[in-house]
Symmetry: C2
């Protein structure tokens, strides 16, 4: 067995525990001991669940055990929510119970910068190593595996998908899954691993490379334990699966925060950028971009061309879309003559007037349907990708506008399903306040967005965001193709 | 009277008509003749309203006149929604009725690229000039003046404010006002002026410079009629009022769209950028940035420093906020010793652990309130600006989380009201689908956003967006201060 095969087996077991003990489960609503139990119950975890707390008899209707050793059955996985000073004792108990892996939600260790806490973390690490117990953490959220109905946060989507994620932060681990889920992205396995005293980013990367359910990998990193090993592994992975990386701690301030957050060394960002480019990782520069990239890779085929046809939205919106697509690096090619000829049969005025991006108001005054133009583009060899554009402004009012938009979107979905070209959509995301929630205009956008996503069309909030993601995706796949790697 | 004073008078009359005739009003829901009438009725226009159509007797309960000349009273302003080929005749009638200004919603003129349409526009322009009638348009939405309850689009906010806007596009004219209104921005006067056959961007700029209700000016431009005159005027204006400019048609594709949209010549973007910088205009690169800049200028005082203190949000969110603020050009300064000393009295662990941006999870484990740190920063001379950060991830669940967030926001509002430092907030804007509208988590964000805005705190969707806007704002005011201009 190679070392990486051994790690794969260990992590695969962690993602598929037949039983979980939550040590430090309590009745206090705001305690994480209570919350982990509540989350596992709500998410519908089907294995055996053992809360551990010497002071409780029962929590959420589940029998509580005074200690690990009082649990009758085997324990595959322990979620540890107790104070750091009790962790060494827990390790001893775990060893006697033959526990193989512990997730230390427990924090206030090296990230505090406190000398004693640092020493304690070091001791925990060594003791676990000696006992043959593997650790996730400390100071992290642990694992999310919708296939096993295991979650680390409330209300996470329990439908499995193909994105595996390695997220050093705890808060972002919940936020990334939640925001990506709104965009239609579903996950295979996610780990939030914090200070990485034992299992680290490279180990999880090896695992997700091996994991057949994972097709796309997403990483939020603050630092790495062994740079050389990590980048070597990453290079192997990007040959087979796209890896999207958001590096936190790029700036002086960010780097300081990194130390107080996960006790990592942020490293020089210019080095990071260069090396990530060399190993063909897809780099995200913000949380927004990470989610956009994830959405693009999740929904789109391996696009290598960059000629885009854009239809819909008013005049100003079309002008700006043209600017944003081109500035990001896509080619907003002219509408080819054969399409103009075809449309001129409906209305000869198109000849001088119609350009790409195609303005929906012009089409409306020419009595040509947006979908007709989109369909022509879908059948033309001059486009690699189509974009459904939309505007918040309404050519018509209320029901008339809704009917107009809905009809275009329905036709666009049909064109998407015919499958001749990849299709994306741009639907604005107004920053509403609570009193605007029931407004028909915003509700229409929410409804259209959901419909498009359900039908398999990736939706972005702006042309610029869509374009930035697609340019990076096409770059990745062009390289893959040129090098003749998998896909 | 100087020429600019004459123009100011003419445009001021246009923005304050005592009567409006809607020529081409009809009963067809999707016709703009119907919609303009409906919009003016709904917005509560208090002047006299005269629909004109030889085929109708009454629309929306209002008496319809067969022609302009059948209208008994005086007509200050005409909204023209009839086909372009009838416009010359309308000009003749208008002249006999002593109409001073016509808004030509009517399009399909020079923007179509058609030779005959181009000639017709030229003829309309000359005829109006000879008759002494001023034109807005053709091919545009006209005017929005909430103070007079005049609007060009449905459901626009009727509360007046201090932003004046000059928007060449029609669709964006509605969209910009609507999106900015969600952010708490209110407008003084807005014009959408399309092909600018007569009154153009420079005329409206002169007017908004003079207009006392207008403190901030926003422009969406596709081209200008007389570059030299425009930039000279712009230079005069930026000495007194900030002017935020979004230039559409920066790319090859965008420039082509510009011609088919408003028949403008887009011009070289590098020239635009250089000249806009020289005349101290504030440049926006996208619609999103335009709205962010408008929000910043609307709510914030003339900040000239750039040292920011950030409090709230989890660890990863804080790391990324630090990165995004610094990358945009703000200084995320270290927490000064006196604040650390003060907080160390509550918990000595802050000494090594606490950094700026301040992680709310660390504060929670130290039993220190986020608001306590924010208040210390508000009283410290080391910060120019404070940022309330937030996360979509929840440290606690549902009611506990809502109470936690609400309590921080309430305290933050108090600190804002004490007025010692400008305060901004970052609240995420999840891209929800219709089935997520009632979700308690997103509703909480919508509620908090609305509360903060109501209390006068500008809210941004991400740290990066906030920082980009603030850096540009501080740059503008630093220059103003250095040159000793008004403000």
């Amino acid at each position: 067995m190679q070392p990486s095969a051994a790690i794969v087996k260990i992590i695969d077991d962690i993602f598929h525990p037949r039983s979980i003990a939550v040590v430090g489960a309590s009745k206090g609503h705001t305690s994480f001991g209570y919350q982990y139990l509540q989350i596992l119950v709500e998410s519908g975890y089907r294995g055996r669940l053992y809360p551990v707390n010497p002071q409780e008899k029962e929590i959420l209707g589940i029998q509580v055990y005074p200690s690990l050793e009082d649990i009758p059955g085997e324990i595959d996985y322990v979620i540890c929510c107790i104070n750091a000073r009790f962790v060494l004792d827990l390790l001893a108990q775990s060893s006697r119970k033959k526990v193989k892996a512990i997730h230390l939600f427990t924090g206030k260790l090296s990230e505090t910068g406190d000398e004693k806490a640092l020493q304690l973390e070091e001791e925990i690490k060594k003791r676990a190593q000696n006992l043959g117990i593997r650790l996730i953490g400390p100071n992290c959220m642990g694992i999310y595996n919708p296939g096993e109905r295991i979650a680390y946060n409330h209300d996470l989507c329990m439908e499995p998908g193909s994105v595996g994620a390695i997220i050093q932060s705890g808060g972002l681990a919940g936020e990334i899954v939640r925001l990506a889920a709104l965009r239609g992205v579903r996950f295979s396995k996610v780990v939030s691993y914090g200070n990485a005293a034992d299992l680290n980013e490279t180990d999880f990367l090896e695992y997700l490379l091996w994991d057949k359910e994972t097709k796309i990998i997403l990483m939020y990193l603050e630092g790495v334990k062994d740079g050389q090993k990590f980048f070597k592994t990453l290079r192997r992975v990007t040959k087979e699966k796209p890896v999207i990386v958001l590096k936190g701690g790029r700036s002086r301030a960010g780097a300081k925060s990194v130390t107080s957050h996960t006790a990592s060394i942020a490293g020089s960002i210019s080095t990071w950028q260069v090396v990530l480019r060399q190993v063909k990782a897809v780099q995200a520069n913000s949380l927004t971009e990470l989610i956009d990239l994830c959405t693009a890779f999740y929904f789109l085929p391996p696009i290598t061309g960059n000629r885009v046809g854009v239809v819909g939205g008013g005049g100003g919106k079309s002008v700006l879309a043209g600017d944003e697509y081109e500035e990001a690096g896509l080619e907003v090619v002219p509408i080819p003559d054969e399409i103009i000829q075809l449309l001129a049969k409906m209305n000869p005025k198109v000849r001088r007037w119609l350009v790409n991006p195609v303005d929906a108001s012009i089409l409306a005054s020419l009595n040509i349907e947006s979908a007709d133009v989109l369909r022509c583009m879908a059948q033309s060899p001059y486009f690699d990708l189509l974009c459904i554009n939309s505007s918040e402004d309404s050519l018509f009012y209320k029901d008339d506008w809704i009917a107009f938009m809905q009809s275009y979107m329905n036709e666009a979905v049909k064109i998407h399903k015919e499958g001749s070209k990849p299709v994306i959509a741009v639907v604005g995301n107004p920053e509403i306040g609570i009193s605007q929630v029931d407004n028909w205009r915003w509700q229409t956008l929410f409804r259209l967005r959901e419909q498009l996503i359900r039908e398999g069309i990736p939706v972005f909030s702006s042309a610029g965001q869509a374009a930035t993601a697609i340019v990076k995706l096409a770059y990745y796949y062009r390289y893959q193709k040129a090098e003749g790697y998998n896909k």
